[in-house]
C-alpha cells in the first residue's frame, strides 16, 4: 500500500545508496528521458543524470550521510537539478521544470544508527518560478513608468529631481564637476494656438527625441514643466555645458516638425550653470539656471545664457 502511494505521488521520488547508485524511482520521475532506458537501476546517479552538478551535489549528499540531516536545493538558487519537462508547456514559457529538491537521510533497518540511503524528492515549482519572474518584470516596468514622462518618454520631474539631488550631493562631497542646462520652448503657447494641441505635443515629442540623441549616457534629461526641460551633466565643466547647449539650440532651430500639412519650427531659450562653492543646495543651483534662462528670453529668445554671479 505504501509503495503504491509513493508511486502515484505528484512529486518525484528517487532512492540512492551510499555509493550514489540508483535503487528506486517513482512514476513521476519516468518523464525524465534518462529513465526510459531499462538498465538504469543500480547505476550511479551521476552517470544516469549527467546534468547533475556533480561535485556540489556529492558534497551535499556526503553531508546527508555523515550528519544524518536533510539537504535542500531551491529553484531560486538553482532552477533545476534534474533536467525535465514540466506539465505547463502551453501556459508558461519556462523550458525546464523549476524544482525544489530535498535530500533526506534514510536508515533502512530499524535500530541501525547509520544512514545507508538517501531519498531525493523533486517538487515541481514551475508555477512559482513563472509567476515570480513575471512579478519581477512587472515591478521593473512599474518602476520605469513611475519615473518616465508619459508624453516624451524622458525622465519626469520627480525622478529628474531625485537624480539631480543625488548628483548634487556627490558633487559637493567629492568636489566633482556638475553642470545644469535648463531650457524652455519659445512661444509654445502660440504653436498650440496656431496648429492645435496635438501639433504642440508632436513638437514636444520630436524635440525630446532630438535632444536625447545628442546626450551622453550619464546625462539625465527630464521634462521639468509643460514646455520646460532640464539636463543634468555630471563631470562637465561650464564651457562644455555651454558648448552642448549651443549645439542643442542650433540643432533645435533647424529642426522642422511636420504635422499634417504644417511644417513647424521653433526655438529655445537656454540657461546654463555649473556647480561652484557659492551654491548651497540644489534649489539654489536651479534658481540660478532659471535666472539665466529668463535672461535669454529677455534678450530676444533663441539664445544661451551662462549664469553670472552678481
Amino acid at each position: 500500500m505504501h509503495s503504491l502511494v509513493v508511486e502515484s505521488l505528484n512529486t518525484g521520488v528517487l532512492l540512492i545508496d551510499s555509493d550514489y547508485n540508483l535503487v528506486y524511482f517513482n512514476h513521476f520521475m519516468r518523464s525524465h528521458p534518462a529513465l526510459k532506458r531499462p538498465d538504469v537501476l543500480g547505476k550511479n546517479i551521476f552517470e544516469v543524470f549527467p546534468e547533475l552538478p556533480k561535485s556540489w551535489m556529492t558534497r551535499k549528499l556526503q553531508g546527508v550521510f555523515m550528519l544524518d540531516s536533510p539537504a535542500f536545493s531551491s529553484w531560486e538558487q538553482r532552477q533545476f537539478l534534474f533536467k525535465m519537462q514540466h506539465t505547463r508547456p502551453i501556459t508558461t514559457n519556462s523550458e525546464f521544470m523549476a524544482q525544489n529538491i530535498s535530500m533526506l537521510p534514510i536508515k533502512s533497518e530499524t535500530g541501525n544508527s547509520e544512514v545507508d540511503h538517501v531519498c531525493i524528492t523533486v517538487e515541481d515549482a514551475t508555477d512559482v518560478y513563472f509567476y515570480q519572474e513575471k512579478l519581477k518584470l512587472t515591478l521593473a516596468e512599474l518602476e520605469r513608468s513611475n519615473r518616465t514622462d508619459g508624453l516624451t518618454q524622458i525622465a519626469n520631474r520627480r525622478y529628474w529631481e531625485e537624480r539631480f539631488n543625488t548628483a548634487f550631493l556627490s558633487a559637493v562631497r567629492y568636489q566633482e564637476e556638475l553642470s545644469l542646462i535648463l531650457f524652455d520652448l519659445d512661444k509654445f503657447k502660440q504653436i498650440n494656438d496656431t496648429y492645435g494641441h496635438q501639433a504642440g505635443d508632436k513638437v514636444l515629442i520630436e524635440s525630446a527625441a532630438l535632444i536625447q540623441s545628442m546626450l551622453r549616457q550619464h546625462d539625465v534629461f527630464g521634462r521639468y514643466g509643460g514646455e520646460e526641460f532640464a539636463i543634468l551633466l555630471p563631470n562637465t565643466q561650464l564651457q562644455g555645458a555651454y558648448e552642448l547647449a549651443e549645439r542643442i539650440r542650433i540643432a533645435f532651430a533647424n529642426q522642422v516638425v511636420n504635422y499634417k500639412t504644417d511644417s513647424i519650427q521653433a526655438t529655445l531659450s537656454i540657461g546654463v550653470v555649473s556647480y561652484h562653492s557659492g551654491i548651497r543646495n540644489y534649489d539654489d543651483m536651479l534658481t540660478r539656471a532659471d535666472m539665466a534662462l529668463y535672461q535669454s528670453k529677455r534678450c530676444g529668445r533663441n539664445k544661451t545664457t551662462i549664469y553670472q554671479a552678481g
Binding site: 552538478p53 561535485s55 556540489w56 558534497r59 551535499k60 556526503q62 553531508g63 555523515m66 550528519l67 544524518d68 540531516s69 536533510p70 539537504a71 535542500f72 531551491s74 531560486e76 538558487q77 538553482r78 525544489n100 530535498s102
Partner: protein, 204 residues
C-alpha cells in the same frame, strides 16, 4: 494574553539539553567540515512578538546582514523557526568551509547550504535527547542587504504573542566566519516543550 513563564528548573534543564546538543553538533560539524566550529554559550529568554522587530533593529540595525529562516516540526507539537543571521564581512569563506570549488555556488546558495547544516545538526542533537524526531522545511532567504530585517518583520502580524528564544553564536576561527542563530519556538509550542522538560525533571 497568554500567561507563560519559565521556571528556574525548566530553564536549567533546557540549558543542559542545549549544551549537550551543541557539543554533539560541534563534534559532527568538525568531522564533516574538517575544521573546529565554536558554539558560544546560548542565551535563553522569552520574547514578545511586539518587541521582536525592535530587538533586531538594535542588534543588527547598522550592519550589512542577511537573514535566513528554516522551519521545523517534531512530534508532540514541538515546532518553530530558526533564523540565521550573517554579517557581510564574515561570510567570505563559506564556500571554503563547505568544501565547494570556487565559483561553483552562488553567495545565496552558500548561505542556504550552511544555514541548513547548522540548523539541522543542532536541532537533531536536541531531538535525540528528548526522543523526538524533527523534520525541516527548506531554508529560505528572508532579507538581504536591500531589505532590512526590521522592515520585513514589521510588515507581518504574528499570530503568537510570546516565543521562547534561544540565541547561539557560531564561530569558525580558521575561516574568519561567524553567524548568529536564533531558535524561536512560538505560542503553544512553548507549553509543549515545557511539558517535555517537566517530564525530564520528574524522571530525575
Amino acid at each position: 494574553m497568554i500567561e507563560i513563564t519559565i521556571t528556574e528548573e525548566q530553564r536549567d534543564c533546557l540549558q543542559e539539553l542545549i549544551n549537550v546538543a551543541m557539543g554533539r553538533a560541534s563534534d559532527k560539524l568538525a568531522r564533516y567540515l574538517q575544521t573546529f566550529v565554536h558554539l558560544q554559550v546560548p542565551h535563553i529568554e522569552l520574547v514578545s512578538s511586539a518587541e521582536l522587530p525592535q530587538t533586531f533593529a538594535e542588534t543588527y540595525g547598522d550592519d550589512n546582514v542577511t537573514l535566513l529562516s528554516q522551519g521545523f516540526y517534531g512530534q508532540d507539537g514541538i515546532s518553530g523557526e530558526t533564523l540565521l543571521i550573517y554579517r557581510a564581512d564574515h561570510t567570505k569563506n563559506i564556500a571554503k568551509i563547505l568544501g565547494y570549488a570556487p565559483d561553483e555556488v552562488s553567495e545565496m546558495e552558500q548561505l542556504t547550504d550552511i544555514s541548513s547544516i547548522l540548523t539541522t545538526t543542532f536541532l537533531n542533537g536536541l531531538a535525540e535527547q528528548i526522543e523526538n524526531q524533527i523534520a525541516y522545511s527548506a531554508p529560505r532567504v528572508i532579507s538581504s542587504r536591500e531589505t532590512s530585517i526590521e522592515r520585513h518583520l514589521q510588515d507581518l502580524s504574528f499570530n503568537w504573542e510570546l516565543a521562547l528564544k534561544v540565541a547561539i553564536s557560531y564561530q569558525v576561527t580558521d575561516y574568519e566566519f561567524n553567524c548568529d542563530m536564533l531558535l524561536l519556538i512560538p505560542g503553544v509550542a512553548i507549553e509543549n516543550i515545557q511539558q517535555v522538560l517537566n517530564q525530564i525533571l520528574e524522571e530525575y
